[in-house]
């Protein structure tokens, strides 16, 4: 019999780049420059319901100077905020992982704030595809 195509439902209302900008400027007062944040995300999501993300910044993590916050945003989800990690020197390493939902192909934006107030950002596109082809 006839069925409908699975996995291609109507597009949800989603956040915009402008909303992402709003969240960042609310956090930092202004948009930071691009910086050395390592974002480990697959280029193509295996499963849009659970996309693994790791972020890392090569920073000393001493009482004098450490990474304080890393905020993760997604510009194509219903709302832009995904997670905000709060670090201390006791972490030893400014690195964390989680898994997130991505309802469609979009940019994941990562913003970091250091203990001295300096900030930076980076982003990476993740494709959410229908799948099914191959060599």
């Amino acid at each position: 019999g006839l069925t409908v195509v699975p996995g291609l439902g109507p597009r949800l209302a989603h956040a915009t780049e402008a909303e992402v900008t709003d969240v960042i400027t609310e956090m930092l007062g202004e948009m930071p420059a691009e910086g050395a944040i390592s974002i480990d995300l697959p280029e193509i999501a295996e499963n849009g319901n659970t996309v693994p993300l790791s972020v890392e910044i090569d920073a000393p993590m001493t009482a004098d100077s450490y990474v304080q916050d890393i905020m993760v945003l997604a510009d194509g989800n219903p709302s832009p905020r995904v997670a905000q990690f709060h670090f201390t020197p006791m972490n030893g390493k400014a690195s964390a992982s989680t898994r997130m939902r991505l309802v469609q192909t979009q940019n994941v934006v990562v913003v970091a704030r250091m203990s001295d107030g300096q900030a930076m950002m980076a982003s990476k596109q993740v494709k959410v595809t229908i799948g099914g082809c191959g060599g």
Binding site: V4, I44, G132, G134
Partner: protein, 541 residues
């Protein structure tokens, strides 16, 4: 043709194929993407293999006479036939079939006999899937054959489509050699699932082989078959494996990869310390290595049609010289290895009558490989349209499947070489025009995205009952235009529902008869099939 074939056969010998001036301490032998082809076949290389962005016009994105020119290969030569589609039917009748694991065994054993302490034989994966017998035995036939070849290590892609339990069962109980997939981690705790690296000593040299499974297995194939495992390219992890191998004394580091050629070319530029990448997945056959920095990329074709031999000279812990040959496995001039011939006969015995059952004949050349519809795909689409009473047919852009010459019988083996998968259901569903466009755009971006890390390495989805135009250089969403329903000549209406039949859906619970039965029934009904040249896809490149 008879005289010419005799002359060609005389001109080409097993010794010619094996001729090689040995070099250094290590001989790497590589096959990949055999797709369960135990027996000799015909295999036509693509006439169209488009590269985008930085790789446009670079190997392997060169075909036909351009390929002959680039690699200085004379027309009508054995190399011309092995490596291109030029004069394919004529030269196939001249040079005969290619592949067959008993022939491959002869070559491997001869090289091993010459270099007993120096040789490593490595399999790049896509080995267990692609035939009637492999499907019937859940891959056990190929495991047995590659055990008999005394394979030293393998990596994987289609292997996973037997399901994670079966893969684990084979590794635990049937496989005599390491299954290396350093880029596969468990989806819950993100820890290694398989061994990444195997160290070998050859000719007094420590050789590390690191396995890299197809990064997009759970996307290109059904994720429900390997739900607990996560894949990905993971360049940082590859670097970690390379660094560990060096720290453990490796003087040569080999990446046995199923990434696909363009992905490996980019990976080679990101990871330090890999001497050789034995590439796989995209089925490219290149007669010369491609060098990225200090890394050699080797592309050994598919379907058992080629054996790569790479000799390495190592001094002071570094590769100082190398010599490479891509050896075409011309079945007719190689004496089959009797032990392997017996293994193959034993494997096929229970299925031989069914495998060789003749379903019909073909008037035309039937092949698949190429970026757009091949003629066997057109036949599958014809079968889907007719047998499933559909307006439009979709058939996946797989790169595997043997070639049939005009006038040849079509057997069950032949249909299975094109359709043998563990999720074969031929669905029938309503799809609106907008969704059809989305599907074509999505697949096109998986092939023609300028960044190879966003490519999945297949070919364009094959379409029956519908024509379209494609501009491969446009961004996603803008590549496809002029979609037309061929039965009426009308443009595809984004809002209208069409009856679409297809197969190889990655969605669990897809219903419908197996595609191999659909295609077999169609051929039996028609007796002799013809496939006119497909002129319904307009390509702007």
């Amino acid at each position: 043709a008879g005289l010419r074939r005799a002359a060609a056969a005389q001109a080409l010998t097993q010794d010619d194929l094996l001729r090689f001036d040995p070099l250094g301490q290590v001989t790497l032998l590589h096959v990949t993407d055999v797709h369960a082809q135990l027996m000799p076949i015909y295999f036509r290389e693509p006439s169209i293999n488009l590269g985008v962005g930085a790789v446009e016009g670079k190997p392997p994105h060169v075909t036909g006479t351009d390929f002959l020119t680039m690699f200085d290969i004379p027309r009508d030569s054995p190399e011309c036939h092995a490596l291109t589609n030029v004069d394919f039917v004529d030269l196939a009748r001249t040079y005969g079939k290619v592949g067959g694991l008993d022939r491959l065994a002869t070559l491997v054993n001869a090289i091993r006999a010459e270099r007993p302490d120096n040789t490593l034989f490595l399999d790049g994966g896509d080995t267990w899937q692609g035939s009637y017998t492999s499907l019937q035995t859940n891959g056990a036939d190929m495991v047995r054959a590659f055990n008999a070849l005394k394979t030293d290590a393998m990596t994987a892609h289609w292997e996973f489509t037997y399901g994670q339990d079966r893969v684990q069962e084979i590794i635990d109980g049937e496989l005599n050699f390491p299954f290396l997939c350093g880029n596969v981690i468990d989806a819950m705790w993100e820890e290694a699932v398989f061994e990444s690296t195997q160290m070998f000593e050859r000719g007094g040299v420590q050789v590390a082989v690191i396995g890299q499974a197809f990064p997009y297995t759970p996307i290109a194939n059904p994720r429900y078959l390997m739900p607990d495992w996560s894949f990905g390219i993971r360049p940082e992890l590859v670097q970690e494996h390379v660094d560990n191998a060096r720290a453990n004394g490796a003087e040569v580091v080999v990446l046995l990869s199923h990434n696909g050629f363009d992905v490996d070319r980019k990976l080679a530029s990101l990871v330090d310390g890999i001497d050789v990448i034995l590439t796989g997945h995209t089925h490219d056959a290149l007669p010369r290595e491609v060098k990225v920095g200090k890394t050699l990329l080797i592309a050994s074709g598919s379907h058992g049609k080629f054996l790569s031999r790479l000799d390495l000279e190592v001094k002071g812990g570094a590769v100082t010289d190398y010599r490479y040959r891509l050896i075409p496995v011309f079945s007719d001039v190689i004496t089959p290895d009797p032990d392997m011939a017996q293994v193959i006969a034993d494997i096929r015995a229970p299925y031989e009558a069914e495998c060789t059952r003749v379903l019909g004949q073909t008037d035309d050349l039937l092949y698949r490989r190429g970026n757009f519809n091949g003629s066997f795909d057109d036949l599958i689409c014809q079968a889907l349209l007719e047998e499933r009473d559909a307006e439009i047919a979709l058939s996946p852009g797989f790169r595997w499947g043997a070639t049939l010459l005009p006038g040849q019988d079509i057997t069950v083996d032949d249909v299975h070489s094109m359709t043998s998968i563990t999720y074969p259901n031929a669905y029938r569903m309503a799809m609106d025009g907008a969704t059809l466009k989305t599907v074509l755009e999505d697949v096109a971006d998986n092939i023609f995205n300028e960044d190879p890390f966003y490519q999945q390495g297949g070919d364009m989805v094959r379409v029956g009952g519908m024509g379209y135009a494609i501009d491969i250089r446009k961004p996603m969403g803008d590549r496809i235009s002029d979609m037309t329903l061929l039965s009426t000549g009308e443009p595809i209406d984004p809002a209208r529902n069409y009856v679409v039949a297809g197969w190889a859906s990655v969605n669990e619970g897809t219903e419908g008869p197996p595609i191999y039965d659909v295609v077999s029934r169609y051929i039996e009904k028609h007796g002799t099939v013809s496939v006119p040249e497909n002129t319904t896809i307009k390509i702007k490149a």
